[in-house]
């Protein structure tokens, strides 16, 4: 309580700039630069639509990252519930006025960008739950009354997103939520119950899956089952990454992507493109930068003293890591194709916006770590 004095509550802009985490900022910037090149390559070596639009978005959202960083953590803490409810409202809105593309209703048309509220929900849920567990005492965490609210907060958006349908994003939203709950100290047995419930409901859930979703899971289990159908993506992605070898085929020389064998190369499969052109060293570079980002966020979390800050940073770091892992695991053929973008690298405004907001709040926590949340 003694730190919640008024001295640190008046940080100058200069102070704030100097207390930015340099490594994290540089890493984000690096990923941005790398993503420009990757996007330039997906445009066939031209400074075309995807490249331009990706660069503009990165500039805007990277700036937004700084803006968010410089805003007091207490503001983010205070508006967490509102943020969550706002996004939840957008998710419901999407149900009615959302844009439909390839059979899935996910987007809201906002003139300058098609907003995908489910991406924002990834952050919204973490923020909401971090605040929730910050508020309740550790003794109450495992009480049934206090379990119900987070469960509802988690299930509601997840179900909304599943029915869009968007299995990948809903899974990533759920994972983010579960991590906060786990970190907050909810006993293992509840996770076990939840897991059991999930397994029991799995057959029912499967019957609700769209045929393409079922086929994706089956194809993952045996990619050669249907090499020109759903397995095509996994197979072509593996060929692209494998054929990159140690040093890659060279910038703009990735034949798999250049010749359109690679599906969704500027979104979910951007890592594949980069791997093909820059080989094992390129892949490892990207992986290391992402690990560095995760590590920095966790480190920031270590320095924080509020459970909100810790919960948020740890959860976001883990969720961020999981986004990366799921995307890479997917393109490497380790897990089924679920449709998960690679943070910052993948083309897509909402995803980048969500990640930048998430990172901005982390940075805000760091800059304002000595300020109270009040």
């Amino acid at each position: 309580m003694f730190r919640s004095g008024s001295i640190q509550s008046h940080l100058t802009l200069r102070d704030k700039i100097f207390s930015l985490d340099l490594t994290l900022t540089i890493c984000i910037f690096l990923i941005g630069i790398i993503s420009f090149f990757a996007m330039y390559s997906t445009d066939g070596g031209q400074f075309a639509y995807h490249t331009k639009s990706h660069i503009i978005r990165f500039i805007i959202f990277f700036s937004l990252f700084f803006v968010i960083s410089f805003i007091k953590t207490s503001f983010w803490y205070g508006s967490a519930t509102l943020f969550y409810l706002g996004v939840l409202f957008l998710l419901i809105l999407v149900k009615y006025v959302g844009l439909t593309s390839s059979g899935s209703q996910r987007w809201l048309y906002l003139y300058f960008l098609n907003l995908q509220p489910s991406e924002l929900m990834k952050i919204g849920l973490i923020l909401f739950l971090a605040k929730y567990y910050h508020k309740i005492s550790s003794g109450d965490v495992n009480k049934f009354r206090y379990l119900a609210q987070p469960l509802l907060a988690l299930l509601f958006p997840v179900i909304l997103v599943i029915t869009q349908p968007d299995l990948g994003t809903s899974f990533l939203i759920a994972v983010g939520g579960v991590i906060v709950v786990w970190l907050a100290g909810v006993k293992m047995k509840f996770f076990a119950y939840l897991g059991g419930l999930f397994l029991l409901s799995a057959p029912i859930a499967i019957s609700f899956l769209k045929p393409y979703q079922k086929s994706r899971i089956l194809t993952f289990l045996d990619p050669s089952r249907d090499p020109l159908g759903a397995g095509y993506q996994i197979t072509q992605s593996k060929i692209a990454i494998g054929s990159g070898g140690l040093f890659g085929k060279g910038f703009l020389d990735g034949s798999q992507s250049y010749l359109d064998y690679l599906p969704e190369k500027h979104t979910d499969f951007i890592f594949t493109l980069f791997s093909e052109e820059f080989g094992f060293f390129g892949s490892m570079t990207i992986l290391m930068i992402y690990i560095l980002i995760t590590w920095r966020i966790v480190n920031i979390g270590h320095t924080l003293r509020t459970s909100f800050g810790k919960l948020y940073c740890y959860s976001f770091a883990t969720a961020f890591f999981i986004y990366v892992a799921v995307n890479m695991g997917m393109v490497l053929g380790l897990i089924p194709i679920v449709g998960a973008p690679l943070p910052i690298m993948s083309y897509g405004g909402s995803s980048m916006l969500a990640i930048m907001i998430g990172l901005g709040i982390v940075m805000s926590c760091k800059i304002h770590k000595d300020q109270s949340l009040g």
Partner: protein
């Protein structure tokens, strides 16, 4: 305000649980890195191959076949520009609509359409299917007119086999689409898969196929996932097939075909020293061009149901009893075996009764007293019944085999027949019965079991005409032959006939044995006697082919007629003296003639067979005369060409 550092226990719990998550993350990182190592380092080679397989597509195209020329360089089988229509299924937006459209534009039959659809199913979507490989100009321009609405088809100008002269259809053969059987029999076809590939089916096209077919070329393109060609990576033009010069003379081929027009039969001409086949014509002929692009069912039916079997190369696959053309050979056999001498005289009264059977001479009144020369000249059957009786069938068959009967002689022609040289053993084996003496008598005049091809008769005559040496036929220049080996060893003698006709020929006997040119005689006088008797038959009054002689001294030739029965003549028919023309076509005699020319310096032998043409003197001999005249007129030209490419010849 909510206290933000409520118990450190809460913070500690978060820290502990975070540690678990960090450990889990490490495991995931190991998994991802391991996978990257496995894909990009360990299995990189495999994926590189797969990636290239993705990228590159190959279009293979058939090379132009080698050209087949005659001795003077005239093209007999060559290539022409054809307009083709290829369809690349994956480029078509709506395949079935496209096929329907093409069907209308080209007026294709349902059958043709279903064939194309079957073909599309059997191959990769980017491999072109040939919708039509020989569009008319009108069809080609109509397609070009509609091309903008026919996405997926490609009009292509290509080359295809064309045969300019139907006179040589049989000897040259034809090409057609590769069949399963071809793939089994011709190993070299394994690497020859290409759209529009044709394979030789008969004749020289088949014999020379492995060389004349060339090497398949390919264009390799980098293509994108939609099959669109991005850039050409490599191109291999392939190798055009090897061209060949043959020993044939297209002018003579044409003349021979002309002379046989409306008849069924064959004409063979060969060089008696080199064995060069100068003419090999079979009639009636057919249009080999029809096979190149797939013959229609109607045309095919017409060909195979034709009475005179146009597809059969009668020169090497037609089997005929040699009739009296065998008499020279019977005489040689008898003389060589010392069974008779040339002075033997036999009375011919038109028939002879032996072993309780009556054997007739063709001349009902009989020839009176005849010696061997007269018997050959006037073709007395009774005389040769007696010669054959004394000689016996086994000795005769031995001589016949030595002179080239009863075996295939032209290498590489799968359609060639061996024929039959009958003897006691043969009959026992093939028919399972003992030989009757009466059959020997029939065999003595070339009737009975004998089966010979016109080519064999031509070769037999050549071996007699060259003084009794076992020349072998050849048809492709540059092919090793006995003659070429001989000429090599002799350091290019100016010509073989020169060698034969100079005193050098004394050493020839030894040399020929070395080289495989084997004398077939014990005493060459016997051969010369028969040659002289043939001269009498053609150039002296009373000779069977006197009416077909050529008066000019340098054109004089010597030959023997033959009339071979295709039925047994009953006594009643003999009494009635039914004329051959009055018989149904199938029962009329075959007309045969063999000859060599010029008589003074023999160079060529010829055989003419006209199916159901009546007597040899009436039909075959006059044809032979015309061929021989042209042949001898063209001899200086041939000699000139020969002198010019002697080196290549050997």
């Amino acid at each position: 305000m909510i206290s933000d550092s409520v118990g450190s226990s809460k913070i500690r719990l978060i820290g502990r649980r975070m540690f678990v998550l960090t450990a889990a993350k490490a495991v995931v990182v190991f998994g991802v890195v391991g996978r990257l190592i496995s894909l990009q380092i360990n299995e990189s080679k495999k994926y590189k191959t797969l990636s290239d397989k993705n990228r590159f597509r190959e279009w293979r195209f058939a090379p132009p076949r080698g050209v087949i020329k005659d001795y003077f360089g005239e093209e007999i089988a060559s290539n022409q520009k054809v307009f083709q229509l290829h369809l690349i299924p994956e480029n078509a937006e709506n395949l079935s609509a496209l096929i329907f459209r093409l069907k209308n534009i080209l007026k294709m039959s349902d059958n043709a359409v279903s064939k194309i659809q079957k073909k599309i199913k059997s191959q990769k979507p980017w491999d072109p299917v040939i919708v039509s490989d020989n569009l008319t100009w009108a069809e080609f321009s109509r397609i070009n007119l509609f091309l903008h609405e026919l996405q997926g088809v490609e009009p292509i100008i290509s080359v295809a086999r064309v045969y300019r002269e139907q006179s040589s259809s049989h000897v040259i053969g034809y090409v057609s689409k590769i069949s399963k059987k071809d793939l089994q029999q011709k190993n070299y076809l394994a690497n020859m898969k290409a759209a529009g590939m044709r394979v030789g089916k008969t004749g020289l096209e088949n014999k020379l196929d492995s060389e004349i077919i060339g090497n398949v070329g390919h264009k390799r393109y980098e293509v994108n996932a939609f099959g669109k060609r991005i850039k050409e990576v490599s191109i291999d033009q392939g190798k055009n097939g090897k061209s060949y010069k043959t020993t044939l003379d297209l002018d003579l081929q044409n003349l021979s075909a002309e002379l046989l027009k409306g008849k069924a039969g064959a004409i063979c001409v060969m060089d008696i020293y080199r064995g060069d086949i100068i003419t090999m014509v079979s009639s009636p002929t057919f249009d080999p061009n029809k096979f190149v692009h797939g013959i229609s069912t109607k045309d095919w039916r017409e060909l195979i149901s034709h009475r005179d079997k146009p597809l059969v190369n009668k020169a090497i696959s037609g089997l005929y009893p040699p009739g009296s053309t065998i008499k020279g050979l019977v005489a040689i056999s008898a003389l060589e075996n010392d069974v008779v001498n040339t002075k033997m005289v036999q009375q011919c009264s038109g028939s002879i009764e032996l072993y309780g059977e009556k054997f007739h001479c063709w001349k009902k009144k009989g020839h009176g007293f005849v010696d061997m020369r007269k018997a050959i000249k006037e073709s007395c059957d009774v005389y040769f019944y007696e010669v054959a009786r004394r000689l016996g069938i086994d000795r005769l068959s031995e001589t016949a085999r030595a002179y080239g009967l009863g075996d295939t002689m032209v290498k590489g022609f799968h359609e060639e027949k061996t024929g039959v040289v009958p003897n006691t053993k043969w009959k026992k084996q093939r028919i399972g019965k003992s030989w009757y003496l009466g059959e020997t008598l029939h065999s003595g005049i070339g009737q009975g079991y004998w089966q010979t091809t016109p080519m064999q008769l031509c070769l037999m005559t050549a071996r007699i005409a060259n003084g009794g040496y076992d020349v072998e036929p050849r048809i492709v220049l540059g092919e090793k032959s006995k003659f070429s080996l001989f000429a090599e060893k002799k350091k290019n003698p100016k010509s073989l006939e020169e060698f034969f006709n100079t005193e050098q020929s004394k050493e020839f006997d030894d040399t020929t044995i070395d080289l495989g040119y084997k004398p077939l005689f014990r005493n060459q006088e016997n051969i010369n006697f028969v040659k002289e008797a043939f001269f009498g038959a053609t150039n002296e009054p009373g000779g069977t082919s006197y009416g077909s002689r050529l008066g000019k001294k340098e054109f004089m030739f010597a030959g023997k007629t033959g009339t071979s029965q295709v039925r047994r003549i009953t006594e009643q028919q003999r009494e009635l003296e039914i004329k051959n023309e009055d018989l149904p076509y199938e029962q009329r005699d075959h007309s045969l003639y063999v000859a060599f020319a010029p008589y003074n310096e023999p160079k060529y032998s010829i055989s003419v067979v006209v199916e159901h043409g009546g007597s040899g003197s009436k039909t075959a001999a006059p044809i032979a005369k015309k061929v021989i005249k042209k042949l001898l007129e063209r001899h200086p030209l041939r000699q000139q060409v020969h002198d010019n490419y002697k080196g290549e010849d050997v």
